[in-house]
């Protein structure tokens, strides 16, 4: 949950004065997103999401994030569309922070996704990759393979507090991934955080994708590997082959996966599991107990990492070339 910055009515009305959104009627801080402060705002012209970008987001990245959403929305992807001021701007400043106004997406995220939803996510992810292919800004993936060593070093010896020998295990896994990470696979803009709470459904259909604040340039199939980790495991840690097949086949129905991409999927999934394991482990060790941020269990991704290490080919995910 996240409302780090409160906003007064007068300064908010001043901010909104640059938009054609009608008079302000109400605004409520909402428990959505982790990095930023978000308000659900009602005005004469409709319902909006107001986002204030907090310290953890680099201001230099904002044109990429907001520009990407504008690009994708203009091409028909259901995602929050940045509202444009009368001066043509999509980014402003409010309460001393960069701020932007977005259209509101109806829909609910699925607490227990089923296979049909996994298939729809696969389709939407492929569409995102396709529609973003002519987006002209670039952002390297700070949490990609080249950044994992620094994360692991930052965890230090306390990794073993989570499980005896974990530090050595992760060190070996990381070394393997660094040496074998695939080269030459199709790359482009990826969402990089398409977890269930970032996908809305309405009346049984996918109604929108949100939270593009980890989006970056990286291997496209790595984004699918992230979704495989995020969508296709049961709460007891078991991989669900029906969901995995639905996700991957959904993706393939909208974008062709080459033989090389398919073959790389187990390795990319090991990378995806390690990436979320490392950030969770880092937060577990470093975020103070009295923080607003709810700490997530690193062990969930340790189990997923071990599962992907046990995979011999994509047949184990329930799919074939």
């Amino acid at each position: 949950m996240a409302v780090y910055t409160d906003v007064g009515e007068a300064e908010l009305a001043g901010f909104l004065g640059r938009y054609d959104c009608g008079p302000l009627l109400s605004y409520k801080g909402i428990a959505e997103g982790v990095e930023n402060s978000n308000f659900l705002l009602r005005a004469g012209g409709g319902t909006f999401i107001l986002t204030l970008y907090e310290k953890r987001v680099d201001r230099d990245d904002l044109p990429f994030f907001v520009g990407l959403m504008r690009h994708l929305a203009s091409r028909g992807l259901n995602c929050p569309q940045p509202v444009v001021t009368r001066d043509g701007e999509t980014l402003g400043e409010l309460a001393g922070r960069p701020a932007a106004l977005f259209t509101f997406l109806e829909g609910m995220w699925s607490r227990r996704p089923h296979a049909d939803q996994c298939r729809e996510v696969g389709v939407a992810l492929a569409q995102l990759h396709d529609l973003a292919s002519d987006f002209d800004l670039r952002r390297p993936n700070a949490l990609g393979v080249a950044g994992w060593r620094q994360l692991l070093d930052g965890c230090g010896p306390r990794a073993d507090d989570v499980e005896d020998g974990l530090r050595d295990e992760l060190d070996a896994e990381l070394r393997f991934l660094e040496e074998n990470w695939p080269k030459g696979l199709p790359a482009g803009v990826i969402h990089a955080d398409l977890f269930p709470d970032n996908v809305f459904f309405l009346s049984g259909e996918l109604s929108g994708l949100i939270d593009f604040y980890f989006a970056c340039n990286d291997i496209l199939a790595y984004d699918l590997a992230i979704c495989l980790c995020a969508w296709c495991f049961e709460q007891d840690g078991a991989y669900n082959v029906t969901k995995g097949r639905a996700l991957i086949e959904g993706y393939r129905s909208a974008r062709v996966l080459s033989a090389a991409e398919l073959a790389a999927l187990p390795l990319l999934a090991r990378g995806a599991a390690l990436r979320f394991l490392l950030t969770r482990l880092y937060d577990w060790i470093h975020v103070p107990a009295n923080s607003f941020v709810t700490k997530k269990d690193p062990k969930e991704y340790l189990r997923k990492s071990r599962f992907h290490r046990s995979v011999r080919s994509i047949a184990d995910y329930g799919v074939h070339e």
Copy 2:
């Protein structure tokens, strides 16, 4: 901020099936209220607030709270109106908690109230007292004068951590109030927590009162004394006589204050300041640092308590009989 309980779409849809509110479109946990989990919910039939009552609220009190809101709304006070199911119910159960659906009130609370807003609050408070006079349920004030001793005892010697000698000072003040607390003043249903964040304004006018979860039966003028504490001090701790006068005169424009009520106001204000000082002090000492609840500074109310002790008559508040 407060979302203690998450709710899945399927169980929420089941809950809403008992209402004529149309299909569920979206719901977001909002940072409003401290005791309960609140969601801003959009459905085919409009926008609503969904409240899940958490442990700190006594289930036996819910018919009083929800019944009072229904009573006041039906008599024209702008407050959240409990939505009634097709079976005529206003209280249900969701995610293992008592739950209720309310109409949504537009409007914004004032972070820096000005005198005109204090006057409007005075008027609305008097209207509330008047409109609630024929509400037939009763709820004793657990945080009234009879309950303060237990709160102070519960703070123990650590009160002196806030300021040297505070425990003795509060003990003497409480003994004085216990011995001199007024008897025979007009009593009825009071809001008991009408702070600025519980009053909405829209287009310069008061648009609604919310959060009736401290409402109870007590001395009516004590409710005005609470507002005097909550609305009429500057951030530097100074009493603002213009705001105080506006609040009290606003109240008097809608309900006659007797000479006895006016004369008792300084004493009631001492009680109000002590009540919020004690609960803040109690939380300061007992609420763990990693709690979601934002702890409020008890010293703010220590300054207000001392101010009210210095008051010789209501002339010091800027008003006359």
